[in-house]
């Protein structure tokens, strides 16, 4: 088996794809599961309730929760940015009011 593989210079042999197919057929053999496994799984499939595997359960609630959490986080971030801007403007605002109201008190 595979003797032609040891002689790479023999191109004629390589061109015969049937040889390659027969070698692949010789290499790949069906594998049998253990009888204990087959019997045990048969027993479980026939007699026990179907377990809900994690991958078969719906992920829609997770996506909804993730979306809501993302929106809330985004709103909180925007609110924080607005608050910071307001704080900065608020610190500037009293100074302007003070400069405007000063002449009024002076006239009275």
């Amino acid at each position: 088996m595979l003797n032609w593989l040891n002689m790479p210079w023999q191109k004629d042999a390589f061109e015969n794809l049937e040889n390659l197919e027969s070698d692949l057929a010789a290499v790949f053999k069906p594998v049998e599961p253990s009888p204990e496994f087959v019997k045990d799984l048969h027993h479980r499939l026939v007699n026990f309730p179907v377990p809900v595997s994690p991958e078969s359960s719906s992920k829609i609630p997770q996506y909804i929760a993730l979306t809501i959490a993302s929106l809330l986080s985004g709103m909180a971030l925007i609110g924080f940015i607005v608050w910071v801007i307001q704080e900065i403007l608020g610190r500037l605002q009293p100074h302007e009011e003070h400069t405007v109201s000063a002449p009024h008190t002076a006239t009275t």
């Binding site: 088996m1 061109e15 692949l24 790949f28 594998v31 599961p33 087959v38 499939l45 078969s56």
Partner: protein, 186 residues
């Protein structure tokens, strides 16, 4: 359970007859296990994924509709998806090469006898494991499962002609790779 046609057994299974599903299981468990074994490379994961395939099939048997897709092809598709997920989840681990699978499934053979074949097989294995996953899948379905191009096409979602073409190109790739002098036996 008496011998019913596959359509009848499928119908009974869809109605919740577990014995009928057990009959389907008996028909296909070896083929599905063999396919998964070559894709994963070890007995433990092959058994785990085989069990998952049949649990998923049992869970979704009501959704299975015969639209020209045989039940076996449906099972192979489930197996293919689970194996793909398994490879994705284990992507940090090095994949088990095909040659290891071939070594592992001859536990009863004498090591010296296997050694005689090692050098011959090794060159072929080196080029086999360089193939893309879809081509490896094609070779497994053809040579391990002995499926026709039409059946393989149903599993892989390709036309029979596309499978035939892919198979021919795979053989040519293997042949060309084997001609390369740098295919060293490690």
């Amino acid at each position: 359970m008496p011998e019913y046609s596959e359509d009848m057994v499928l119908s009974l299974s869809a109605q919740g007859d577990r014995e009928a599903f057990g009959s389907l299981y008996e028909r296909y468990v070896s083929r599905i296990y063999s396919y998964i074994y070559y894709r994963t490379g070890n007995q433990h994961d092959a058994e785990d994924l085989t069990a998952r395939v049949f649990y998923r099939a049992l869970h979704h048997i009501n959704n299975y509709q015969q639209r020209g897709l045989p039940f076996s092809a449906w099972l192979y598709r489930i197996a293919h998806n689970l194996v793909a997920n398994w490879h994705r989840d284990n992507s940090r681990r090095p994949e088990v090469s095909l040659d290891e699978c071939i070594w592992l499934h001859h536990p009863g053979e004498h090591p010296e006898g296997m050694l005689l074949q090692t050098e011959e097989n090794e060159r072929l294995m080196i080029v086999l494991r360089k193939l893309p996953p879809d081509r490896q899948q094609l070779l497994i379905l053809k040579f391990v499962e002995h499926l026709s191009n039409a059946e393989i096409g149903q599993i892989m979602g390709r036309t029979e002609g596309a499978v035939k073409s892919l198979y021919h190109r795979t053989l040519l790739t293997l042949r060309d790779d084997l001609e390369q002098p740098d295919v060293n036996i490690q």
